[in-house]
Symmetry: C2
């Protein structure tokens, strides 16, 4: 599976594409940052993020998009911008019919380092190792986007099973005839 | 001037179009609500909001879009959805090159009722009176969208003067020759 990870932000929106399946070596296809000038109007910044994400979707044609789930317990101003940037990323993906998954920062850290409270450096180091890169991607937002994509590839089997179970529970009960031979 | 007011929300996004200038009677051109099902995926809800806002922009061709400024001091879950819905509204406007203005709830209340802490009912009553409607628009999100548009029409002259002053202050200083006769 090919996943675009997006670490949303108004000033720097990290993006990274990883291909692979759980249990096999992963491959990085691309990594970068969509930047918008902090002195531009908010609407124009959102348009710039839309164009950036669209360009990445066009170039790499991912099958899934994984976006960091935004919480509002942190810095109030930053969180609003992050929520708005993440909305644009989700919109771009959903418009193309791509499934969007949200993962929390601690889920991502736990997936790639084994520790949900790992430091930035540790995440960067593990992303470098898992993708067999020469050096940690810079800035941290780019490394975080790759970590999100890796997290999604590794969690996807469990998420799919959960969704199937939910769907089965919601589906109308069809009596199953027991076949005995 | 013709203004589309948007009271952003994921479940109900209030929209209202008002035409007029400060100091003259105002005219409502349209009011409504863009709704999205609460059990849909977040990405799909944002796509539905985008389609809804685009339809309003297509039909009424406003020259300005006024969106409620979102604060995060309130309910955390609601605020994230509001921020995301507002991002879609701003994106739709900015993509068309329409100026987007953000007004706080208290600015809007103060503009239409004279009291920045007015109750919902009072805002609805003043919107009804100012636009000479037969009854307050329902739901409250629709009335709030009209109040936002009215607030923008009334505040626009002051905002424009402020922006001109800022632009002048940022512009390179050109020595002005004093002309005396």
């Amino acid at each position: 599976m090919r996943v675009l990870g997006v670490d949303p932000g108004l000033t720097r929106c990290g993006v990274g594409v990883v291909e692979g399946v759980a249990g096999r070596p992963l491959r990085m296809l691309g990594v970068g940052v969509v930047r918008t000038p902090s002195d531009a109007e908010l609407g124009e910044r959102l348009v710039a993020i839309e164009r950036g994400i669209e360009a990445w979707l066009d170039e790499y044609r991912p099958e899934f998009v994984a976006v960091e789930r935004v919480f509002s317990q942190h810095n109030v101003r930053t969180v609003m911008g992050t929520a708005q940037a993440s909305a644009v990323a989700m919109l771009c993906a959903a418009r193309r019919g791509l499934p969007v998954a949200l993962h929390t920062p601690s889920e991502v850290k736990a997936a790639v380092t084994g520790n949900g409270r790992a430091e930035k450096d540790q995440v960067g180091a593990m992303v470098t190792r898992l993708l067999r890169l020469d050096a940690p991607p810079k800035p941290a937002d780019a490394a975080d986007a790759l970590a999100l994509a890796i997290c999604h590839i590794w969690r996807a089997p469990a998420i799919n099973r959960l969704q199937q179970a939910h769907a089965a529970a919601r589906a109308p009960r069809i009596p199953v005839r027991k076949v005995t031979r």
